[in-house]
Symmetry: none
Amino acid sequence: MTDTDQPRNLSQKPVIILVGPQMAENIGMVARAMANFGLSELRLVSPRGGWPKKGAHSAASGATHILKDAALYDTAEEAVADLQFVFATTARERGQMKRVYAPAEAALKTIERNTAGQRVGIMFGRERTGLENDEVALADAIITFPVDPDFSSLNLAQAVLLVGYEWYKNVTKEALPFDGEPQTPPANKEMVLSFFEYLESELEAANFYPPDKKPTMTRNMRDIFYRLEMTEQDVRTLRGAVRVLVETRRSRKSQIN
Amino acid sequence: MTDTDQPRNLSQKPVIILVGPQMAENIGMVARAMANFGLSELRLVSPRGGWPKKGAHSAASGATHILKDAALYDTAEEAVADLQFVFATTARERGQMKRVYAPAEAALKTIERNTAGQRVGIMFGRERTGLENDEVALADAIITFPVDPDFSSLNLAQAVLLVGYEWYKNVTKEALPFDGEPQTPPANKEMVLSFFEYLESELEAANFYPPDKKPTMTRNMRDIFYRLEMTEQDVRTLRGAVRVLVETRRSRKSQIN
């Protein structure tokens, strides 16, 4: 490859996150698919039967360094805490309001974010059941695959392969146009979830949620904020607004007592 | 999908040709990869150990119709005789002067030819050794895969998967199984500005704005919400949340008075 073909900023690459992977062979094949396309950072959330898993190593043949360096987590929430943009791969519509990307568009979004110095992750679910709703809920956006609806099932390594392929294909091209990125970094998931929990506890205290509707309303409101792709400054601003609106109430109450 | 999204001329699809495939499992997985992306015509040239092969059927699970309809040939030359444009997939440069396509470009070329009523085939070689030079020589053009040169080996089914993916994606113009578009229309400016004015008056009343900073803070916060591209439902939800947080304060105040 000539210099103009060199991928920019390849040290910033998307992180591949397998949530609850069941079969050792699949994990090994995921490592190979990653290696095919220049990816190297793998995170494993609660692999069934623990980690390391017998059989992953041989299935990874040649890509075992990726397994060796794989980071282990107990929950998806912990696995995404330091990331600033997260995709969840799903095959079926999940009754949520997140933006849906094809792998090609998701690759462009990933490159845009990585180029701006931000960390991006892509979550893949269990072989048989995919991601749970709570795990999909952590994501900023969905990736789904343009497959024939009559035969839509891709295996885990194939899904990673297509995502890796689109990323590598696009990142080794000429520079992409760069649009006006916000001045502060995007908030990582820990900060975002902390804001949600604060807002929701205040709404709960204010009787915002009719009985039985809280889970749906919570999910829908979080999806509004996920679409915003909040920077750290956005979170501080919105948190400050909520606090001010609410604490004026509290300070008046304490003045009376 | 609307009519304009319908894939054109889907009855003309590329033919997948496996030359000298060795492992039954790979043939089965190729059938699955084809089915994932709406391909159905498979040709097998001298499969090792004959055909049918034990194990192909179970590896094809769900895509066995493709195996059942697969056509058998003794040589690659016989397998491409009726085709009008043929690609050969190779990983390494072969000292030939044929045009080299990436899978995406090859898909566009395939669709162009198929749309013109011409038959197109794509040859894939043996698992360990690929295509022989005489077989590559039969092709009009080469397809090679944009993989990391440090880890370039794709298995047979993965190579077919990537070719099929690019074809299907382009021929259906990426019709995804579902999208995440909001259910209500975007809020018009009157509704958005009304929400802003309401929020800002409540923040003002709560002393959110330090002296002299109100214009800047107002503009920045409005920009946060503009980035959201709020639907009517978003505005109703956010307005409702603000009202509840604030009015609990008012109702307490009036209870005291």
